[in-house]
């Protein structure tokens, strides 16, 4: 008997019950296989969490490199197993703390990283030779990180970590002083090639759909845009023809959101693995299966959190974390439950780490690999998401690929429409949010502890450090290195050997960034009503 029609969060019609009929087209060896073997639907590694549980990695940073270092040390002591660095908005833009443009933003929503010294301080005393690091930036800060590692006697060939560098994630920021998408992609390609030489174990790019998902894309739109962006980089490298594809494709990392629809999110991660395998193997003919492993960091979805009754968020985060685990993520960030209210408190940070540890050690979900594999529902949903994702990828490719779709304004128009669309569904009750548009309390039933950063002092501290830094650097060497960097930016040469040289002799991130942008001119973002 058919009850009322149900839909997944992405609008996929869901039946009242799934049976063998729904998976009869499934060819086990071709479509699933065991974990660690093509097409990797069940997992990229043969032992998965039985061998090693996912990396607990929270993206954080605030106030100053000094304060953030204290935070990273605390997180490490609590059992976090990887570092993840969120630069503040001024660093994301590429302006230094003493730039007149910057007045109120130092140390907000991240930490300022202006110089090699800042990077050194942020990682002081942390075992970066053993634990891996994620840097939410696009290349120059990684060059500083490499220089710091070198100075500590660490072999760059063994250094592990990831640089963000993703177009679709960066485009969301809507910040000034950015190059156009083709410039952004060029520096990304330069960085990928440079890393494959100097730090072959480093992931030079992390294709990241978290931000676009949080703005309102659904599960298959998220995957579609994610892969369209990854494909764009492979195409760019193919066009440049400087290194063989298998050299860098193996080091592509991915980052997605874990949203509310539990089973759909699990199916999404499984589908993503099969899609990436097909892209690498069928489309690009890369034979080494190691290149076709979709390795993913998953973060619980901030847009699902509410300021009303903030403790409700910890339940949402736990479910989303569990979906990431059952989907087989390699690295997970469980958000702070209080992030719709304030920057996370120490207590909320602790809870995030514990949320992951409880999932890993108490629930038993890590005992076997891909425990939901073979479920009529999950397999059917995995197929459906795969099919819809291919269509979405094709749509973007028909527009000329991801960078072109950004250049032409499609991407920003879409991202402006999506939150408006979502809000209308929230206002109408079509999307239920407990405590907000359903079971809403008239008065807030309780308060949670809050954390407030000190917005006034970070800028002074940082600007003063910069003044001293600029004073003591070798001015002649710095000027020479900057001159060579500017020349490289304005040529076809790979800029990163010059970036590396420049930051080692005291070039600031702002200076490097300005040189990169000036070669293309600032791109005005098409955001507005």
């Amino acid at each position: 008997m058919q009850t009322e029609q149900h839909f997944s969060a992405s609008g996929i019609p869901i039946k009242d019950i799934y049976t063998p009929e729904d998976t009869k087209g499934l060819d086990y060896d071709k479509d699933l296989g065991i974990a660690g073997e093509p097409p990797f639907t069940r997992g990229p590694y043969p032992t998965m969490y039985r061998g090693q549980v996912w990396t607990i990695r929270r993206l954080t940073g605030f106030n100053t490199p000094e304060d953030s270092n204290k935070l990273y040390r605390e997180q490490y002591e609590l059992g976090q197993t990887g570092f993840s660095v969120a630069p503040d908005i001024t660093t994301a833009i590429g302006v230094d703390a003493d730039d007149p443009m910057v007045e109120y933003e130092i140390g907000h929503s991240g930490l300022p990283l202006n110089t090699i010294e800042d990077v050194d301080v942020a990682f002081d005393g942390l075992p970066i030779d053993r634990a891996s690091t994620y840097l939410a930036e696009r290349g120059p800060i990684t060059a500083m990180y490499f220089a710091v590692a070198e100075k500590r006697g660490i072999d760059l060939k063994q250094l592990r970590g990831t640089t963000a560098g993703c177009m679709i994630s960066w485009g969301v920021l809507n910040i000034p002083l950015q190059p156009p998408p083709r410039g952004y992609r060029r520096y990304g390609a330069d960085f990928i090639e440079w890393c494959s030489e100097v730090a072959p174990k480093w992931n030079p790019i992390c294709h990241d759909s978290y931000n676009v998902r949080d703005l309102g894309l659904n599960a298959y739109e998220e995957l579609g845009m994610l892969f369209a962006s990854a494909i764009d980089f492979v195409e760019e490298e193919k066009r440049r023809g400087r290194i063989p594809l298998d050299r860098f494709v193996r080091r592509f990392a991915f980052n997605t959101a874990a949203h509310n629809d539990f089973f759909e999110e699990i199916a999404k991660i499984r589908a993503a693995r099969r899609i990436w395998y097909k892209i690498v193997t069928d489309r690009y003919g890369i034979q080494d299966p190691n290149c076709a492993k979709f390795r993913v960091h998953v973060q619980s979805s901030g847009s699902t959190h509410t300021a009303q009754e903030p403790y409700n968020n910890l339940i949402r985060i736990a479910y989303q974390t569990l979906a990431a685990v059952l989907g087989g993520a390699q690295s997970i960030h469980a958000n702070g439950y209080d992030e719709a209210v304030c920057l996370p408190t120490d207590q909320s940070m602790l809870l995030s780490i514990r949320t992951e540890q409880i999932a890993a050690l108490e629930t038993g979900v890590t005992n076997t690999i891909d425990p939901l594999g073979g479920s009529y529902y999950i397999e059917s949903l995995t197929d459906e998401l795969e099919e819809r994702t291919w269509e979405y990828i094709k749509m973007i490719e028909d527009m000329g690929g991801m960078a072109q779709a950004m250049q032409d304004g499609w991407y920003h128009r879409l991202l402006m429409d999506k939150p408006i669309e979502r809000q209308k569904k929230v206002d109408s009750g079509e999307i239920p949010i407990v405590g907000v548009n359903i079971f809403r309390s008239e008065k807030q039933p309780y308060k949670v502890p809050i954390f407030k950063p000190d917005p006034a002092t970070s800028r002074e501290i940082q600007a003063e450090k910069l003044r001293k830094f600029r004073e003591k650097r070798d001015k002649a060497k710095h000027a020479e290195a900057m001159k060579r960097l500017v020349e490289a930016c304005n040529s076809d040469e790979n800029v990163y050997p010059y970036v590396f040289e420049a930051v080692k002799v005291g070039a600031t991130f702002g200076e490097v960034s300005r040189a990169q942008v000036d070669a293309y001119g600032e791109w005005p973002y098409p955001i507005g009503l």
């Binding site: 920021l173 910040i175 408006i420 809000q423 917005p455 955001i527 009503l529």
Partner: protein, 125 residues
């Protein structure tokens, strides 16, 4: 409707701007502006309402700067709205400064629209 400073997080600003426009208001979407630019634009466009969005806890610095600028330009009487992640223990101080309405995440659009309509009905003849 602006972000007074450099932060990203523009989705809320777009959503509220759109809701106000749908409700019949003429909306100028300023995007990211410095506090001085906010005041200059508000004066130049002779607006009745200035809406500021902040999700990075910098509003205790930017809002007073905007208010100073507005007063200098003789626009101290605009209806000033603030939205985003605003700490409850700052509400009183903000209201004393002259912020008329504070809206945190999860506020129904209708509530914001009604607030603006009610408060501006006397301003606009």
């Amino acid at each position: 409707m602006v972000k007074a400073g450099l932060e990203g997080h523009w989705a809320g600003l777009i959503v509220v701007s759109n809701a106000l426009r749908d409700a019949g208001f003429e909306v100028i979407y300023g995007g990211n502006m410095t506090p001085a630019e906010v005041a200059a634009t508000a004066a130049q466009e002779d607006v009745n309402v200035v809406g500021i969005s902040s999700l990075t806890a910098n509003y205790m610095l930017t809002v007073p700067a905007v208010i100073r600028g507005l007063k200098e330009r003789g626009k101290g009487d605009v209806l000033l709205l603030l939205g985003g992640t605003i700490y409850e223990d700052d509400f009183d101080a903000l209201k004393k400064m002259g912020v008329a309405g504070i809206f945190t995440p999860g506020t129904p659009m209708e509530e914001i629209v009604n607030f603006v309509r009610e408060k501006t009905s006397a301003m606009v003849k």
